[in-house]
């Protein structure tokens, strides 16, 4: 298929998605999505974004964002949300399509208390007594002496196999290899104001030199406001809403859509009052594409040492002893896959697996259960409301090659790598120019915006609505791309009786909700003081 045809295809996909989104989707993209990872929130990856940078002046750069530690209540003091110093956080890039990483960026954190890990102490009637808090006064970019707790990290690039490849240290502009992480936004009294916290956090944005890359990159790790939008609670309560657009168009407010359908409202985004922690990296595409065709696949993972011995007499520095090989415990590429596609018995295995072994999970994609569950939940109501007699809402084109294309291989000519290996990762064509924030469609390709999901993923892409519509068969209908009707040939309208329904969870998100500069995700919500 020619690129232009695929552009049409992509556009069609985008157009499709806008209608459809059966949105029961929801869970946050990957927040607490598997039983085992709920026990280890500091290494729980929640979202992964991969897109061509759209900050003005950053043409040719690619941004990679990996979010961790889900559902942070901003007021979660006194310890807030530090990264795990015993963990290995990684961002992987496959640039030739064999589903194995060619590049891995490894982040390892170190936590220290002031006063050589003894902490800040106060003289209380003679003895010096350690304080119980992580800060004892105001903190700013210019003066952080009141901080009792500091996080730092080092960044290593591994070329080849992530465990046996060639490792090299990423350094800052001054040659140092240790980077600081800002203290979480405990509140406006500590930091002065939201603007002051933003200034403080920005002081931890580093220009870095990556071995083997001729162009410098940028890195930032710190707390951000949750960017994922989803009607989380109601979705998991057996989709306790009518997940079809209730207005004639999203946000129209006219009630002219599906009778009783949910309408778009920020209030539906139940996770919008929480924070996450972002690992952000921006690199020139020439550092990422290797010998491939310009399309890269990316995903993030977190690993722990296999052996852990709890210390019965713990100290700050040694609450446990860790040893042995790294064991992966969290993984995220495409949004919602482990959340809504992989069966409960295999979710933990998926978390521990690598894309090159995804064949073991293929049946979950080719024969998905989510459409069947939605059919059980809504077929009667749909038929009653519309006066129809639809026998089954779920698409019947099994195996679902449309889903394989969307989630496991990418679309030829759009975001398919040089070699096609079915595997779960986010695929980005670095050759498709970024769309400025103001011109982005939150339905990505389906909205006629080829620079968006599923060609990579940007913070403003409404992946929940998109993914649900695709799952319910939107790709079985022709897509309107550039005024042209494009039939992807993956299935037909007869296969998907509700494939053109505008499913939605009513939780809107768009590029306007984010910054237009790296790292794009916005200043976190303060623990106190309002936003």
């Amino acid at each position: 298929m020619s690129f232009s045809k695929h552009r049409l295809l992509a556009a069609a996909v985008a157009a499709t998605l806008p209608f459809a989104a059966f949105s029961p989707q929801a869970s946050a993209s990957s927040h607490r999505e598997a039983p085992n990872i709920t026990r280890m929130p500091t290494v729980d990856s929640t979202d992964f974004y991969l897109f061509n940078s759209y900050e003005p002046g950053r043409d040719g750069y690619v941004t990679l964002l990996a979010n961790y530690i889900p559902l942070q209540n901003p007021y979660g003091g006194p310890n807030y949300f530090a990264m795990d110093p015993a963990a290995l956080y990684e961002i992987h890039v496959d640039n030739d399509g064999d589903a194995s990483e060619n590049l891995t960026f490894q982040f390892r954190f170190t936590n220290r208390l002031a006063n050589d890990n003894r902490g800040i102490k106060l003289n209380i009637g003679g003895p010096a007594v350690a304080v119980p808090l992580k800060n004892v006064g105001g903190v700013s970019a210019a003066d952080s002496s009141a901080l009792n707790f500091r996080e730092s990290y080092q960044l290593t690039l591994v070329r080849g196999d992530r465990r046996r490849g060639t490792a090299s240290q990423v350094t800052g502009a001054g040659g140092g290899s240790v980077f600081g992480k800002p203290y979480d936004f405990v509140g406006t009294k500590t930091f002065g104001s939201i603007a002051a916290y933003k200034t403080y956090a920005n002081s931890f944005l580093y220009t870095v030199n990556v071995p083997g890359c001729s162009m410098p990159g940028r890195v930032f790790v710190g707390q951000r406001k949750e960017g994922f939008a989803v009607n989380l609670g109601r979705v998991f309560d057996l989709v306790n809403l009518v997940p079809v657009e209730g207005d004639s168009a999203p946000g129209a407010g006219d009630g002219g859509g599906f009778p009783g359908g949910i309408t778009q409202s920020a209030a539906n985004n139940i996770v919008g009052d929480s924070n996450i922690t972002t690992i952000a990296l921006e690199l020139h595409k020439s550092c990422l594409t290797g010998t491939g065709n310009g399309v890269i696949g990316g995903w993030t993972s977190a690993s722990l040492r296999q052996a852990r011995l709890l210390n019965p007499l713990p100290t700050f520095a040694r609450p446990e002893v860790d040893g042995g090989p790294w064991v992966q415990v969290s993984r995220l590429g495409m949004p919602l896959v482990n959340e809504l596609v992989i069966g409960l018995p295999d979710k933990d295995r998926f978390s521990a697996s690598e894309p090159k072994a995804d064949g073991q999970f293929a049946t979950y994609v080719t024969n998905p259960t989510l459409p069947a569950l939605l059919d059980v939940l809504f077929r009667g109501a749909v038929n009653q409301t519309l006066g129809t007699n639809i026998a089954n809402l779920a698409p019947n084109n099994l195996p679902r090659t449309d889903l394989v294309t969307a989630f496991l291989t990418g679309f030829p000519g759009v975001n398919q790598l040089k070699t096609v290996t079915a595997s779960e990762m986010t695929r980005l064509n670095t050759g498709i120019p970024a769309a400025a924030a103001a011109s982005q469609s939150n339905f990505g390709v389906a909205g006629g915006d080829l620079a968006g999901f599923p060609n990579g993923r940007r913070p403003g892409d409404d992946t929940v609505d998109i993914a649900l519509r695709v799952v319910m068969g939107r790709l079985c209908y022709p897509l309107m791309i550039g005024g042209n009707s494009v039939d992807l040939g993956l299935c037909t309208a007869a296969n998907a009786p509700v494939g053109n329904v505008p499913f939605t969870d009513g939780a809107p998100v768009s590029a306007a909700d984010f910054d237009t500069t790296f790292p794009y995700l916005t200043t976190p919500l303060p623990g106190s003081g309002g936003y």
Binding site: R163, R164, Q306, T315, G323, G324, P325
Partner: protein, 188 residues
């Protein structure tokens, strides 16, 4: 025997011979008579030897053959069941293959040990059946918590992981002193 010298004698002999022949014929008919051919012969399946495996280990696929006089092998239906759900669940027995060559794979429950009888039944299109059974014994693989843990701690970050599935760990690690060298004093 001379039956041609005298007619009366010949007649006698002929009568006797006739009787003998008649008797022999009757006796022969009784001895050689086959039962009426059956409406349908039962299918057959080959035997499978008793099996032994370690815990958490899939057994198979094991090949076996099926046949039938009246029907093509592809028309034969094979089912299988294990008699101990605590060792092999109902969905732990899977059949494969086609035609005359079929396979069976048995997947015991995680961490389960013990013995079960697995019975295979082949049925032809007319409903005739045949069965075979084999015994599967799933043995525990004991491992020491202490030794496994210490050997894992001794590995490097990029070494191969220690495989945990397939082992039953003995409770030999309740002596905290075993790990004192790793914990140290807790001060740093």
């Amino acid at each position: 025997m001379n039956v041609h010298k005298t007619k009366p004698g010949a007649l006698v002999l002929l009568a006797a011979a006739t009787l003998v022949v008649a008797a022999c014929s009757s006796k022969s008919r009784d001895a050689m008579q086959l039962p009426p051919p059956p409406a349908n012969y039962a299918p057959t399946l080959s035997a499978i030897a008793d099996q032994t495996s370690d815990q958490d280990t899939m057994v198979g696929p094991i090949e076996f053959s099926v046949a039938d006089q009246e029907s093509a092998a592809s028309a034969l239906t094979v089912t299988a069941v294990a008699d101990g759900a605590s060792v092999v669940p109902a969905d732990g027995v899977t059949l494969g293959g086609s035609g005359a060559m079929r396979t069976i794979t048995v997947t015991p429950l995680e961490a389960a040990t013990g013995a079960v009888m697995v019975t295979l039944t082949v049925t032809d299109p007319d409903g005739a059946v045949a069965t075979r059974a084999f015994r599967l014994t799933v043995n525990a693989r004991p491992a020491s918590v202490r030794d496994t843990t210490l050997s894992t701690f001794a590995k490097g970050e990029t070494d191969d992981v220690t495989v945990v599935n397939g082992l039953t760990f003995t409770q030999d690690a309740d002596d905290a002193a075993i790990f004192e060298p790793l914990i140290g004093t807790g001060e740093e």
